[in-house]
């Protein structure tokens, strides 16, 4: 792969100006830059010549179009959906399009990261502009060629036609002329009603490569002459390495070098979170031999902070709930006073353990560091942060560092953290050559950036008419408290209090798919189920009542959600699941949650088979604004549901003396085929709101819908994840 960075270092900018006709009129500046195409799988002939239209689009003389997908692909399917947006505005048949992963290019692309379900949301306008600019340039080229006005031409499906019907020319035929056209300052975007591609279902552009086993992932990357490397981290959080049997390891078969690397970064950023700065590195020629060498390591470790146990974690959280430091809070009315007046009070405590990300492709990265350059290739959700950290580590200017992104075997937040790329760079620098660092599953699971462990207490007060008059939540986490003070039910209850409390741990934690929401949804939405029951109300009606309050007469100054849209997904799921209908042996739960700017409501049906709960069917109603790639969008919501059920039900990471007791899939349970829902149906609210993300929002409500359905099935409420080990369920 050749790599070209634009020599400019300006960002394209968006300036919305008055709409002249039809679509929105947008002004911007545009810069060229990118690299040649390599892989082809389309309906048109392979071009002899390619023409760079702009950094997102290249058109071949046969009409084949290469679209560069800027963001990391972790399974959220942006490598298909982002180019669809470009192709829509370019107005080219999807069959003519091939997609390539763009490299990191901070001078040209924006927001090249995969996190917070933000890819589509942040790039919607930029991608549309990229396509529309291309279309405009092709139109201008044809107009110039024929000596007519652009307004006398129409571009559609890869062909430009004269409105008079006289002449026509394909994109492929005119592309060479479009190269010389000045990049327009303003372009028309399509009216939403004219979309042909957006809103349809297009298959994953890497599908054929996935099913035929082509090298796609970081772990598959190979460079002639490269070495392989593995690391060994200290056995427990709170420990560091002092020394090891270096000479012995170096003499083992297939090992070429062994040493300790220091990966300390000055002024570390959020993405530099990692368990251990100093690591033993072993370099060699084959993975198996490195694995054997790793087992032969005898090291001297040093304890630098108190190793922790799971019992201590629970104690810390309990203590924090009583006397911990409140980081953020909200108070409306006077909850304490209202509780005193309440006719009924419900108070419940919920908890969840640390969990690991466990992307199926373990952490790995390729690095080739020379005196004045560093090349990095691999799976990262944050290439720009990686570039920055490697620059600090090597004391090398950013311009000398390149980052290429492979397809990524799962992200879930784990690869927001860049330490494994930094470690690869440190090893490459030490050996003076190209190297691919590989984590074993055990390395991956036992030195994670885990989902924090959480504990929250919810309290609700009902008056004699069963109106919710007071609500409070106090949540503590190691380290961050699982509370969003301005989210639902803020705005719906007269007397409301929310407190987010932090506590300390030396276990490294980080963003795990839908950070904090992955716990708060489960807790809050099963708590509300209990409150609705105490109030003698249907759980959906009870929530809709609260949303009505937020719509008509909201409490307090602000809340983070739009109550209409929240209520909208509940109403949609109610209709689709035929809520209210009862079937013998089928037990239903419902939950709704808003996070990452999208709204999802889920109804879950559970049946009991041989005393075991089986999720028979799940209905999901989703409001994420405009849906780009419908079936792909459904797929990621389905994944979120399965992930939510799996982690609520089965997964946990426990600690003894600072060591994770579960370090592979024999002890760490992940949801499997037989435990997955039999059927999942996904429905979208149709609207014209700019698209928001889908990678995360499907997961959180699944945890609560599950807890609520389980209650209906077994009569038992679930408060402590994972539910499968909660005492009463098993004993």
């Amino acid at each position: 792969m050749t790599k070209i960075k634009t020599q400019y270092n300006r960002r394209s900018f968006i300036k919305v100006s008055a709409a002249a006709s039809g679509g929105m009129l947008i002004g911007f500046s545009w810069l060229n830059g990118c690299k040649p195409n390599t892989s082809l799988d389309t309906g048109v002939a392979i071009p002899k010549e390619w023409f760079d239209i702009n950094g997102y689009i290249k058109i071949g003389d046969t009409g084949m179009v290469t679209i560069f997908s800027p963001n990391p692909e972790i399974g959220q399917n942006v490598k298909t959906s982002m180019p669809m947006i470009v192709a829509e505005e370019l107005d080219v048949p999807w069959e003519n399009v091939v997609v390539e992963q763009a490299p990191l290019n901070t001078g040209f692309y924006q927001n090249q990261f995969a996190g917070g379900s933000l890819s589509i949301r942040l790039s919607w306008n930029a991608l549309r502009m990229a396509g529309a600019t291309g279309r405009r340039m092709l139109l201008e080229a044809a107009a110039k060629e024929w000596g007519v006005e652009v307004s006398s031409l129409t571009a559609s499906e890869g062909v430009i036609k004269e409105n008079s019907g006289e002449r026509s020319v394909s994109y492929g035929e005119i592309a060479s002329k479009a190269v010389g056209i000045e990049i327009p300052e303003e372009v028309d975007l399509k009216d939403l009603k004219d979309f042909k591609l957006i809103g349809t279902s297009k298959k994953n552009v890497d599908g054929r490569k996935i099913v035929t086993g082509e090298p796609l992932y970081g772990l598959d990357f190979h460079r002639e002459g490269m070495k392989l490397a593995m690391i060994q981290h200290p056995p427990a959080f709170g420990m560091t390495v002092k020394d090891f049997n270096k000479e012995e390891i170096k003499n083992m078969p297939g090992v070429t070098d062994a040493f300790i690397i220091d990966t300390t970064i000055d002024e570390p950023g959020w993405f530099d979170e990692k368990g251990f700065n100093h690591l033993i590195a072993i370099v060699g020629d084959s993975t198996w031999e490195l694995m054997q060498a790793k087992k032969a390591i005898k090291a001297e470790w040093e304890t630098v902070s108190e190793p922790e146990n799971s019992d201590i974690h629970i104690e810390k959280l309990e203590k924090a709930l009583v006397s911990g430091e409140v980081e953020e809070s909200r108070k409306d009315g006077n909850a304490d006073a209202a509780f005193k007046k309440a006719a009924k009070i419900i108070e419940r405590t919920y908890s969840a353990p640390f969990i690991a990300h466990n992307t199926l492709e373990p952490m790995n990265f390729f690095a080739n560091v020379t005196e004045n350059s560093a090349e990095l290739v691999g799976p990262t959700q944050t290439p720009e942060s990686l570039e920055g950290s490697v620059s600090k580590l090597l004391n090398m200017p950013l311009e000398n560092i390149t980052v290429d992104m492979t397809r990524i075997g799962g992200g879930f937040g784990r690869r927001l953290y860049v330490h494994f790329g930094v470690e690869a760079a440190a090893i490459s620098k030490k050996i003076g050559g190209p190297v691919k660092l590989i984590y074993t599953r055990e390395d991956d699971m036992s030195q994670g950036t885990y989902r924090p462990t959480y504990r929250s207490t919810y309290k609700a007060g009902l008056d004699e008419n069963n109106n919710l008059i007071a609500f409070s939540v106090k949540g503590a986490g190691l380290p961050e408290g699982p509370v969003f003070p301005n989210r639902f039910p803020a705005g719906t209850v007269e007397n409301y209090s929310a407190e987010k409390i932090k506590a300390e741990t030396n276990v490294t934690t980080g963003a795990w798919r839908a950070p904090r929401s992955n716990f708060t949804a489960g807790a809050e939405q099963s708590f509300l189920d209990e409150v609705a029951e105490a109030a003698g109300k249907d759980p959906i009606d009870f929530r809709l009542e609260l949303f009505n309050r937020a719509i008509n007469d909201p409490i307090g100054e602000k809340h983070d959600y739009e109550a209409e849209r929240y209520a909208g997904v509940l109403k949609l799921v109610k209709e689709k699941a035929n809520w209210g209908e009862t079937k013998p042996g089928v037990h239903r739960g419902v939950a709704a949650y808003f996070c990452h700017a999208s709204y999802v409501a889920e109804v879950m049906d559970i049946i009991m088979e041989n005393g075991q709960p089986i999720v028979d069917k799940v209905w999901c109603a989703v409001d994420c604004g405009i849906v780009v790639n419908k079936d792909g969008a459904k797929n990621i919501i389905e994944g979120g549901v399965v992930d939510g059920i799996g982690h609520a039900m089965y997964s946990q990471l426990t600690f003894e003396n600072g060591t994770a007791k579960e370090s592979n899939f024999d002890k760490y349970q992940l949801i499997r085929h037989s435990q997955a829902p039999k059927k999942i149906e996904v429905f979208f609210v149709e609207n014209e709101i700019d698209p928001t993300g889908l990678g995360e929002p499907g997961l959180p409500p699944a945890m609560a819908a599950l807890a609520n359905a389980l209650y209906k099935a077994t009569g038992q409420r679930h408060y402590h994840q994972p539910f499968s080990t909660e005492r009463k369920l098993v004993g």
Binding site: I74, G75, Q76, S201, K203, N204, D206, G207, R208, I210, V211, T212, G213, E214, P215, L216, Y217, L219, D220, H222, L228, P253, D285, S286, T287, W288, E289, M291, Q292, T359, L360, E361, P362, R407, G409, G410, G411, T440, R441, D631, G632, N635, I636, E638, G639, V641, V642, D643, G646, N664, F665, D666, L670, I671, R672, H673, S674, A676, K678, I680
Partner: protein
């Protein structure tokens, strides 16, 4: 170190490796067939599934010295042009999210369907339970297996 003659995807290959080396690493490191994936190394995830003769096996647990003259098929050799009914069904259903587990899922499903061309849902779950999909594409995998089964029987 020892020499082993292997038959992989119909081709004769020779490798000089430690006899205990699992086929997973022989394929990936020595033969540069990286379609077979590493997920756990302890027979728990199924990402490394290949065919030994007609059977699906975990290549992370199969030492190269145990292969002898048995045919090995990897995802790269499942079909000439990616047109095995299971591969086609996978593309039709658009099963994958990250895609990392899918070579193993496909290799397991294709061996399973060969022995049981008309499986029930329960049989599918039983046969596929050793293959983890961290992204949670299980319902689509099941759908694709059924589609492959019905296209085979059509």
């Amino acid at each position: 170190m020892a020499n082993f003659n292997l038959k992989v995807n119909g081709k004769n290959e020779q490798v000089d490796v430690d006899p205990a080396t699992p086929m997973l690493w022989v394929l990936r490191d020595h033969l540069k067939l990286v379609g077979t994936k590493y997920g756990c190394g302890i027979a728990q995830c199924g990402a490394c599934t290949i065919h030994l003769g007609d059977n699906a096996v975990r290549s992370c647990q199969l030492p190269v010295s145990a292969v002898n003259d048995q045919d090995i098929t990897t995802i790269e050799g499942l079909s000439e042009n990616g047109d095995h009914p299971v591969q086609k069904a996978w593309m039709e259903v658009d099963v994958y999210q990250c895609g990392y587990c899918q070579a193993g899922q496909i290799m397991n499903a294709s061996a399973f369907l060969k022995n049981n061309p008309n499986p029930t849902d329960e049989e599918i779950e039983g046969a596929m339970n050793g293959n983890i999909c961290r992204c949670g594409t299980y319902t689509r995998i099941k759908k694709a297996i059924k589609e492959a089964a019905s296209s085979e029987n059509a």
